[in-house]
Protein backbone atom coordinates (compact mmCIF):
# COMPACT_ATOMS: atom_id res chain seq x y z
CA UNK A 1 0.00 0.00 0.00
CA UNK A 2 2.76 2.45 0.90
CA UNK A 3 5.72 2.63 -1.42
CA UNK A 4 9.19 2.87 0.05
CA UNK A 5 11.19 5.64 -1.50
CA UNK A 6 13.83 7.96 -0.16
CA UNK A 7 11.28 10.56 0.76
CA UNK A 8 7.79 9.66 1.79
CA UNK A 9 5.48 12.00 -0.08
CA UNK A 10 1.83 11.88 0.88
CA UNK A 11 -1.01 13.51 -1.02
CA UNK A 12 -4.07 14.32 1.09
CA UNK A 13 -7.43 14.63 -0.63
CA UNK A 14 -10.27 15.90 1.59
CA UNK A 15 -13.62 14.93 0.11
CA UNK A 16 -17.19 15.79 1.01
CA UNK A 17 -19.87 14.36 -1.28
CA UNK A 18 -17.44 13.98 -4.18
CA UNK A 19 -18.65 10.55 -5.34
CA UNK A 20 -18.93 11.80 -8.95
CA UNK A 21 -15.30 12.85 -9.27
CA UNK A 22 -13.23 11.29 -6.49
CA UNK A 23 -12.12 8.33 -8.59
CA UNK A 24 -10.95 10.52 -11.49
CA UNK A 25 -9.19 12.95 -9.15
CA UNK A 26 -7.35 10.11 -7.41
CA UNK A 27 -6.40 8.45 -10.70
CA UNK A 28 -5.03 11.75 -11.97
CA UNK A 29 -2.85 12.07 -8.86
CA UNK A 30 -1.68 8.48 -9.30
CA UNK A 31 -0.94 9.10 -12.99
CA UNK A 32 1.19 12.08 -11.99
CA UNK A 33 3.39 9.61 -10.12
CA UNK A 34 2.23 9.79 -6.52
CA UNK A 35 1.38 6.53 -4.84
CA UNK A 36 0.85 7.53 -1.22
CA UNK A 37 -2.61 9.00 -1.32
CA UNK A 38 -4.87 9.54 1.68
CA UNK A 39 -8.51 10.30 0.95
CA UNK A 40 -10.34 11.73 3.96
CA UNK A 41 -14.08 11.47 3.55
CA UNK A 42 -15.55 14.28 5.62
CA UNK A 43 -18.74 12.49 6.65
CA UNK A 44 -20.20 12.39 3.13
CA UNK A 45 -23.85 11.47 2.70
CA UNK A 46 -23.25 9.99 -0.77
CA UNK A 47 -21.09 6.95 -1.59
CA UNK A 48 -17.74 8.80 -1.69
CA UNK A 49 -16.32 6.45 0.95
CA UNK A 50 -17.32 3.21 -0.80
CA UNK A 51 -15.87 4.48 -4.10
CA UNK A 52 -12.66 5.58 -2.36
CA UNK A 53 -12.30 2.17 -0.73
CA UNK A 54 -12.44 0.49 -4.14
CA UNK A 55 -9.52 2.52 -5.51
CA UNK A 56 -6.45 0.27 -5.29
CA UNK A 57 -3.35 1.38 -3.41
CA UNK A 58 -4.73 4.30 -1.47
CA UNK A 59 -5.56 4.91 2.18
CA UNK A 60 -9.19 5.75 2.72
CA UNK A 61 -10.28 7.37 5.97
CA UNK A 62 -13.72 8.53 7.00
CA UNK A 63 -14.81 11.05 9.61
CA UNK A 64 -18.02 9.66 11.12
CA UNK A 65 -19.71 13.08 10.95
CA UNK A 66 -19.10 16.11 8.76
CA UNK A 67 -16.54 18.34 10.49
CA UNK A 68 -15.44 20.60 7.67
CA UNK A 69 -12.63 20.84 5.16
CA UNK A 70 -10.09 21.99 7.76
CA UNK A 71 -10.84 19.05 10.05
CA UNK A 72 -10.54 16.63 7.13
CA UNK A 73 -7.21 18.07 5.98
CA UNK A 74 -5.85 18.02 9.52
CA UNK A 75 -6.93 14.37 9.89
CA UNK A 76 -5.10 13.56 6.66
CA UNK A 77 -1.96 15.34 7.86
CA UNK A 78 -2.09 13.53 11.22
CA UNK A 79 -2.44 10.22 9.34
CA UNK A 80 0.55 11.12 7.17
CA UNK A 81 2.56 11.91 10.31
CA UNK A 82 1.70 8.48 11.73
CA UNK A 83 2.97 6.98 8.46
CA UNK A 84 6.27 8.92 8.72
CA UNK A 85 5.63 11.36 5.90
CA UNK A 86 8.48 13.64 4.90
CA UNK A 87 6.42 15.87 2.63
CA UNK A 88 2.66 16.36 2.61
CA UNK A 89 0.67 17.82 -0.27
CA UNK A 90 -2.98 18.81 0.13
CA UNK A 91 -5.20 19.01 -2.93
CA UNK A 92 -8.94 19.65 -3.26
CA UNK A 93 -11.23 16.70 -3.93
CA UNK A 94 -13.35 18.36 -6.62
CA UNK A 95 -10.70 18.18 -9.33
CA UNK A 96 -10.07 21.91 -9.64
CA UNK A 97 -6.32 21.48 -9.09
CA UNK A 98 -3.91 19.95 -11.55
CA UNK A 99 -1.70 17.29 -9.88
CA UNK A 100 1.05 18.12 -12.40
CA UNK A 101 1.71 21.24 -10.28
CA UNK A 102 2.78 19.01 -7.37
CA UNK A 103 6.19 18.45 -9.00
CA UNK A 104 7.03 22.17 -8.81
CA UNK A 105 5.91 22.26 -5.19
CA UNK A 106 8.11 19.32 -4.23
CA UNK A 107 11.13 20.88 -5.91
CA UNK A 108 10.64 24.03 -3.84
CA UNK A 109 10.26 22.04 -0.61
CA UNK A 110 13.48 20.18 -1.44
CA UNK A 111 15.19 23.54 -1.96
CA UNK A 112 14.55 24.37 1.71
CA UNK A 113 11.10 25.92 1.83
CA UNK A 114 8.85 24.73 4.64
CA UNK A 115 5.55 25.53 2.96
CA UNK A 116 4.64 26.01 -0.71
CA UNK A 117 1.33 27.78 -1.25
CA UNK A 118 -0.44 27.26 -4.53
CA UNK A 119 -1.94 30.55 -5.66
CA UNK A 120 -4.75 30.82 -8.16
CA UNK A 121 -4.27 34.56 -8.40
CA UNK A 122 -0.59 34.42 -9.33
CA UNK A 123 -1.60 32.59 -12.47
CA UNK A 124 -1.67 35.17 -15.27
CA UNK A 125 -4.52 33.29 -16.90
CA UNK A 126 -6.93 31.96 -14.24
CA UNK A 127 -9.33 30.41 -16.74
CA UNK A 128 -12.95 30.36 -15.68
CA UNK A 129 -12.43 31.89 -12.23
CA UNK A 130 -15.59 33.92 -11.60
CA UNK A 131 -15.13 37.64 -10.90
CA UNK A 132 -16.99 37.40 -7.58
CA UNK A 133 -14.56 34.70 -6.51
CA UNK A 134 -11.57 36.88 -7.38
CA UNK A 135 -13.06 39.79 -5.38
CA UNK A 136 -13.93 37.48 -2.45
CA UNK A 137 -10.42 36.09 -2.56
CA UNK A 138 -8.85 39.56 -2.32
CA UNK A 139 -11.16 40.31 0.62
CA UNK A 140 -10.13 37.01 2.26
CA UNK A 141 -6.47 37.91 1.76
CA UNK A 142 -7.04 41.31 3.34
CA UNK A 143 -8.83 39.76 6.37
CA UNK A 144 -6.10 37.15 6.76
CA UNK A 145 -3.46 39.89 6.69
CA UNK A 146 -5.42 42.10 9.11
CA UNK A 147 -6.15 39.29 11.60
CA UNK A 148 -3.12 37.04 11.26
CA UNK A 149 -0.51 39.48 10.01
CA UNK A 150 0.86 37.84 6.86
CA UNK A 151 0.09 38.91 3.30
CA UNK A 152 -0.38 36.16 0.76
CA UNK A 153 -2.02 36.29 -2.66
CA UNK A 154 -4.37 33.31 -2.13
CA UNK A 155 -5.16 32.71 1.53
CA UNK A 156 -8.03 30.32 0.66
CA UNK A 157 -6.13 27.95 -1.60
CA UNK A 158 -6.30 24.30 -0.59
CA UNK A 159 -3.40 23.26 -2.83
CA UNK A 160 -0.31 23.36 -0.63
CA UNK A 161 2.82 21.41 0.20
CA UNK A 162 4.43 21.09 3.62
CA UNK A 163 7.81 19.87 4.78
CA UNK A 164 8.19 17.54 7.77
CA UNK A 165 9.22 20.53 9.90
CA UNK A 166 6.07 22.41 8.87
CA UNK A 167 3.64 19.56 9.59
CA UNK A 168 5.19 19.11 13.01
CA UNK A 169 5.00 22.82 13.88
CA UNK A 170 1.67 23.85 12.35
CA UNK A 171 -1.01 23.46 14.99
CA UNK A 172 -4.47 24.48 13.83
CA UNK A 173 -7.69 24.52 15.84
CA UNK A 174 -10.33 25.54 13.31
CA UNK A 175 -12.34 23.05 11.29
CA UNK A 176 -13.92 24.67 8.29
CA UNK A 177 -12.89 27.15 5.61
CA UNK A 178 -11.05 29.35 8.14
CA UNK A 179 -8.48 26.55 8.35
CA UNK A 180 -6.68 27.75 5.22
CA UNK A 181 -6.18 31.19 6.75
CA UNK A 182 -5.17 29.73 10.10
CA UNK A 183 -2.32 27.92 8.38
CA UNK A 184 -1.09 31.34 7.22
CA UNK A 185 -1.08 32.48 10.87
CA UNK A 186 0.91 29.38 11.85
CA UNK A 187 3.45 30.11 9.08
CA UNK A 188 3.91 33.62 10.49
CA UNK A 189 4.04 32.56 14.14
CA UNK A 190 6.48 29.72 13.56
CA UNK A 191 8.57 31.83 11.16
CA UNK A 192 8.40 29.13 8.50
CA UNK A 193 9.99 29.69 5.09
CA UNK A 194 7.19 29.84 2.57
CA UNK A 195 6.83 30.56 -1.10
CA UNK A 196 3.84 31.06 -3.36
CA UNK A 197 3.64 29.61 -6.84
CA UNK A 198 1.04 30.02 -9.57
CA UNK A 199 -1.17 26.97 -9.99
CA UNK A 200 -3.54 25.91 -12.70
CA UNK A 201 -7.15 26.01 -11.64
CA UNK A 202 -9.92 24.25 -13.50
CA UNK A 203 -13.38 25.52 -12.72
CA UNK A 204 -15.82 23.03 -14.13
CA UNK A 205 -19.61 23.15 -14.04
CA UNK A 206 -19.35 20.48 -11.35
CA UNK A 207 -17.02 22.41 -9.05
CA UNK A 208 -18.93 25.67 -9.55
CA UNK A 209 -22.29 24.05 -8.93
CA UNK A 210 -21.38 22.13 -5.80
CA UNK A 211 -23.35 22.94 -2.69
CA UNK A 212 -21.70 23.91 0.59
CA UNK A 213 -19.00 25.91 -1.18
CA UNK A 214 -17.87 29.27 0.07
CA UNK A 215 -20.64 31.83 -0.30
CA UNK A 216 -21.47 35.16 1.33
CA UNK A 217 -22.94 33.55 4.45
CA UNK A 218 -20.08 31.06 4.82
CA UNK A 219 -17.68 33.95 4.23
CA UNK A 220 -19.22 35.95 7.08
CA UNK A 221 -19.11 32.89 9.36
CA UNK A 222 -15.48 32.28 8.42
CA UNK A 223 -14.59 35.89 9.25
CA UNK A 224 -16.27 35.67 12.68
CA UNK A 225 -14.48 32.39 13.43
CA UNK A 226 -11.17 33.88 12.35
CA UNK A 227 -11.69 36.78 14.79
CA UNK A 228 -12.64 34.39 17.61
CA UNK A 229 -9.64 32.14 16.93
CA UNK A 230 -7.13 34.97 17.55
Amino acid sequence: MITNSEEQIFVIIPAFNEATVIQDVTKEVQSAGYKNIIIVDDGSTDNTQSIAQQIPGIISLKLSINRGKGAAVKTGIEAAKILDADIVVTIDGDGQHNPKDIKKMLELIKKGNDVVLGSRLLNPNPKGMPIWKIVANHFGNFCTWAIYGLWVTDSQSGFRAYSKKAINLINTKTDRYEYDSEVIREIAQNKLHYIEIPIEVRYTEYSKGKKNKMNLLNGAKTLIKMIISV
Partner: protein
Amino acid sequence: MILQISIYGIILGIISMIFLLNGILKFIRKEKNQSLFKLLATTIIWGGVFTLSFFPDIAHIISINLGLGENLNTLIFLGFVINFLIIFKLLNKIEKMESNISEIVRNETLYKLNNIKK
Protein backbone atom coordinates in the same frame (compact mmCIF):
# COMPACT_ATOMS: atom_id res chain seq x y z
CA MET B 1 -50.08 56.90 28.30
CA ILE B 2 -50.72 58.09 24.76
CA LEU B 3 -51.31 55.71 21.86
CA GLN B 4 -48.72 56.46 19.16
CA ILE B 5 -49.00 54.78 15.78
CA SER B 6 -45.98 54.80 13.50
CA ILE B 7 -44.74 52.49 10.71
CA TYR B 8 -41.95 51.16 12.96
CA GLY B 9 -44.47 50.62 15.75
CA ILE B 10 -46.81 48.67 13.48
CA ILE B 11 -43.97 46.47 12.13
CA LEU B 12 -42.66 45.82 15.65
CA GLY B 13 -46.21 45.18 16.87
CA ILE B 14 -46.85 42.61 14.13
CA ILE B 15 -43.53 40.82 14.77
CA SER B 16 -44.12 40.69 18.54
CA MET B 17 -47.69 39.51 18.01
CA ILE B 18 -46.48 36.65 15.77
CA PHE B 19 -43.98 35.50 18.42
CA LEU B 20 -46.53 35.92 21.20
CA LEU B 21 -49.21 33.90 19.40
CA ASN B 22 -46.66 31.29 18.38
CA GLY B 23 -45.61 30.85 22.02
CA ILE B 24 -49.21 30.59 23.22
CA LEU B 25 -50.13 28.09 20.47
CA LYS B 26 -47.09 25.92 21.26
CA PHE B 27 -48.15 25.83 24.92
CA ILE B 28 -51.79 24.99 24.05
CA ARG B 29 -50.64 22.21 21.68
CA LYS B 30 -48.43 20.90 24.52
CA GLU B 31 -45.46 20.77 22.19
CA LYS B 32 -42.15 19.34 23.40
CA ASN B 33 -40.16 21.45 25.90
CA GLN B 34 -43.08 23.80 26.59
CA SER B 35 -43.64 24.90 30.16
CA LEU B 36 -45.66 27.49 32.06
CA PHE B 37 -42.42 29.36 32.81
CA LYS B 38 -41.59 29.51 29.09
CA LEU B 39 -45.08 30.80 28.32
CA LEU B 40 -44.77 33.47 31.02
CA ALA B 41 -41.35 34.56 29.74
CA THR B 42 -42.68 34.74 26.16
CA THR B 43 -45.70 36.73 27.28
CA ILE B 44 -43.66 39.20 29.34
CA ILE B 45 -40.95 39.76 26.68
CA TRP B 46 -43.06 39.87 23.50
CA GLY B 47 -46.06 41.38 25.31
CA GLY B 48 -43.73 44.11 26.57
CA VAL B 49 -42.38 44.73 23.05
CA PHE B 50 -45.98 44.84 21.72
CA THR B 51 -47.08 47.33 24.37
CA LEU B 52 -43.99 49.53 23.94
CA SER B 53 -44.40 49.57 20.16
CA PHE B 54 -47.79 51.32 20.52
CA PHE B 55 -47.17 53.16 23.82
CA PRO B 56 -43.51 54.25 23.65
CA ASP B 57 -44.08 56.78 26.45
CA ILE B 58 -44.15 53.88 28.93
CA ALA B 59 -40.35 53.59 28.57
CA HIS B 60 -40.00 57.24 29.59
CA ILE B 61 -42.34 56.77 32.60
CA ILE B 62 -40.40 53.66 33.74
CA SER B 63 -37.12 55.52 33.32
CA ILE B 64 -38.29 58.41 35.52
CA ASN B 65 -39.79 56.06 38.15
CA LEU B 66 -36.51 54.11 38.29
CA GLY B 67 -34.66 57.35 38.89
CA LEU B 68 -32.75 57.19 35.61
CA GLY B 69 -34.32 60.34 34.24
CA GLU B 70 -33.11 60.94 30.70
CA ASN B 71 -30.34 58.32 30.95
CA LEU B 72 -32.45 55.45 29.60
CA ASN B 73 -30.61 55.53 26.26
CA THR B 74 -27.31 54.96 28.06
CA LEU B 75 -28.82 51.96 29.84
CA ILE B 76 -30.11 50.53 26.55
CA PHE B 77 -26.68 51.05 24.97
CA LEU B 78 -25.06 49.28 27.92
CA GLY B 79 -27.56 46.45 27.45
CA PHE B 80 -26.45 46.07 23.84
CA VAL B 81 -22.79 45.99 24.84
CA ILE B 82 -23.44 43.33 27.50
CA ASN B 83 -25.49 41.29 25.01
CA PHE B 84 -22.70 41.52 22.47
CA LEU B 85 -20.15 40.35 25.03
CA ILE B 86 -22.36 37.42 26.05
CA ILE B 87 -22.84 36.38 22.40
CA PHE B 88 -19.10 36.63 21.78
CA LYS B 89 -18.39 34.51 24.87
CA LEU B 90 -20.98 31.93 23.80
CA LEU B 91 -19.56 31.76 20.27
CA ASN B 92 -16.15 31.20 21.79
CA LYS B 93 -17.46 28.34 23.93
CA ILE B 94 -19.28 26.79 20.94
CA GLU B 95 -16.11 27.04 18.87
CA LYS B 96 -14.16 25.26 21.60
CA MET B 97 -16.78 22.51 21.80
CA GLU B 98 -16.75 22.14 18.00
CA SER B 99 -12.98 21.79 18.14
CA ASN B 100 -13.27 19.10 20.84
CA ILE B 101 -15.86 17.19 18.78
CA SER B 102 -13.51 17.27 15.79
CA GLU B 103 -10.68 15.98 17.95
CA ILE B 104 -12.80 13.05 19.17
CA VAL B 105 -13.93 12.23 15.60
CA ARG B 106 -10.32 12.51 14.37
CA ASN B 107 -8.97 10.22 17.10
CA GLU B 108 -11.69 7.69 16.27
CA THR B 109 -10.70 7.84 12.57
CA LEU B 110 -6.98 7.51 13.26
CA TYR B 111 -7.36 4.77 15.89
CA LYS B 112 -7.15 1.91 13.37
CA LEU B 113 -4.23 3.50 11.54
CA ASN B 114 -2.36 3.90 14.82
CA ASN B 115 -2.93 0.22 15.64
CA ILE B 116 -1.71 -0.90 12.19
CA LYS B 117 1.41 1.21 12.68
CA LYS B 118 2.08 -0.36 16.10
